[in-house]
């Protein structure tokens, strides 16, 4: 069973269709599936809904597909730093469902774990609760949030072995794990494919069962939104 594809384009072949619900990993520009987003843009697929914590920035990440108007709707917790997003949103060209960050992560995990709904305190008494069922547990109110069941998951990882076991690096893990689990098909772009047996079985972040297709996206020129540093003390 070969899971390795020669290019992002090949890795998406046969799974792209207008109107898809796509779960995407990444936080800001950290750990986003750049190559797969590029390939989706180039494919011309449209009317996409993205469940993704952010919407990229003007010409990075999902921002690239916003620019080409391939995105119909975003399910996100934060969409700052994106002028074209703002323009389309204010013009009514783009639908946005704001979802608290933790609720979004849990909705993806729930979808991946076969849980269609769960109750949370997050958002009780706010706009987020509007239209949602309220239930009392132990005297406190909770709202019902629904699992996200995506058509396609696209994520970015550090390394994968040939069977699809995946590891991430530092805070680039973020939404990539829950996003990976909630799609009917999960395509992973990695920095490196390593031989089977070279990853520690006790330290796999995403077991191969969740991964259908793998593509090497290297070399990466990883973007930073805000570079903050301190000065090295004089020796």
């Amino acid at each position: 069973m070969n899971k390795i594809y020669p290019s992002a384009e090949a890795a998406l072949e046969g799974v792209l269709k207008d109107g898809l619900l796509v779960a995407s990993g990444g936080f800001g520009l950290c750990g986003i599936p750049e190559r797969l987003l590029d390939a989706m843009r180039d494919s011309g697929v449209k009317d996409l809904t993205f469940a993704s914590n952010n919407a990229g920035i003007d010409n990075e990440g999902i921002g690239k597909l916003l620019r080409t108007k391939q995105v119909k709707k975003m399910i996100s917790s934060y969409v700052g730093e994106n002028k074209e997003f703002e323009r389309q949103y204010l013009a009514g060209e783009l639908e946005v469902e704001f979802c608290p960050q933790g609720t979004l992560a849990e909705r993806m995990r729930a979808g991946g774990a076969g849980i269609p709904g769960f109750y949370t305190k997050t958002g009780v008494g706010t706009q987020v609760a509007e239209g949602k069922e309220v239930k009392v547990f132990g005297g406190e109110e909770y709202i019902l949030e629904e699992g996200i069941f995506a058509d396609l998951s696209i994520i970015k990882a550090w390394k994968a072995d040939e069977t699809g076991n995946v590891v991430f690096r530092k805070t680039a893990r973020n939404f990539n794990v829950p996003a990976a689990t909630c799609g009917k098909v999960c395509v992973v772009e990695v920095e490196e494919i390593v031989p089977v047996g070279s990853l520690d079985p006790d330290a796999i972040h995403l077991p191969g069962v969740f991964v259908q297709r793998i593509v090497v996206g290297a070399p990466y020129d990883k973007k930073i939104e805000f570079t903050t540093t301190r000065e090295r003390e004089a020796v």
Partner: protein, 216 residues
């Protein structure tokens, strides 16, 4: 209104918030003044900072040659790692937050109401950027401290009888630290009490600049 009162600076407000830290606390700090709290952790206690994008044990900003795009905080700034750091995914991260495992969070706000409601994510009619993790934090963390200017740029009170802006959380705030004063309540059924004033600030000035009901 007394033009003479200086009140606390941003750093002093952060330092005041830092006094609420206890040894062993796990803490999430919001963007802006809350981030400065990290600079005032008392030397004799250990506090572990959580970043909701998936890290426990946030270190200081990196040296220029250590900057790593895979290592950022929730404000998307580059940071560094500590020997006891741990990384995890966003679902696990908010499991910690929602599940009440984080002891304290310090957040900014546009408005806080006398009943503990907080509004800090949107202004109707303006571009909405989203709530990020703020709703999860105020719903899940054990103690919620708001650090904000006492009044808006127009001089309008921000600690008020009822929020006018869309809420981030209902009845969640435990403590409010402004440039002029500190308000606190022991539980979510009690009213806030004025527990501290900045040097040179009078109770009268605070009363004049606060429309929320509070106990003196």
């Amino acid at each position: 209104m007394s033009e003479a009162s200086k009140g606390w600076s941003r750093n002093e407000m952060a330092a005041r918030a830092a006094k609420e830290l206890q040894d062993g606390f796990y803490v999430n700090l919001g963007i802006g003044i809350p981030t400065l709290v990290a600079n005032y952790v008392p030397k004799d206690i250990t506090v572990t900072l959580q970043s909701e994008n998936g890290m426990l044990g946030i270190g200081p900003f990196p040296y220029p040659d250590e900057v790593d795009p895979d290592l950022i905080n929730a404000g998307k700034q580059t940071i560094s790692e500590l020997p006891h750091s741990a990384y995890f995914d966003s679902a696990a991260s908010f499991g910690m937050i929602r599940g009440g495992h984080i002891d304290l969070t310090v957040l900014g706000a546009m408005e806080v109401a006398e009943n503990g409601d907080i509004a800090n994510w949107m202004i109707p009619g303006k571009m909405i950027k989203g709530m990020g993790g703020a709703m999860d934090l105020v719903a899940g963390v054990k103690k919620i401290i708001v650090v904000m200017e006492h009044t808006s740029k127009n001089g309008d009170p921000k600690f008020i009888p009822a929020c006018t802006l869309p809420l981030t959380g209902r009845n969640v705030v435990d403590m409010v630290i402004t440039d002029l004063a500190v308000f606190q309540r022991p539980d979510h059924d009690s009213p806030f009490r004025l527990v501290e004033m900045a040097p040179g600030v009078t109770a009268e000035e605070i009363a004049a600049k606060t429309t929320a009901h509070y106990v003196s």
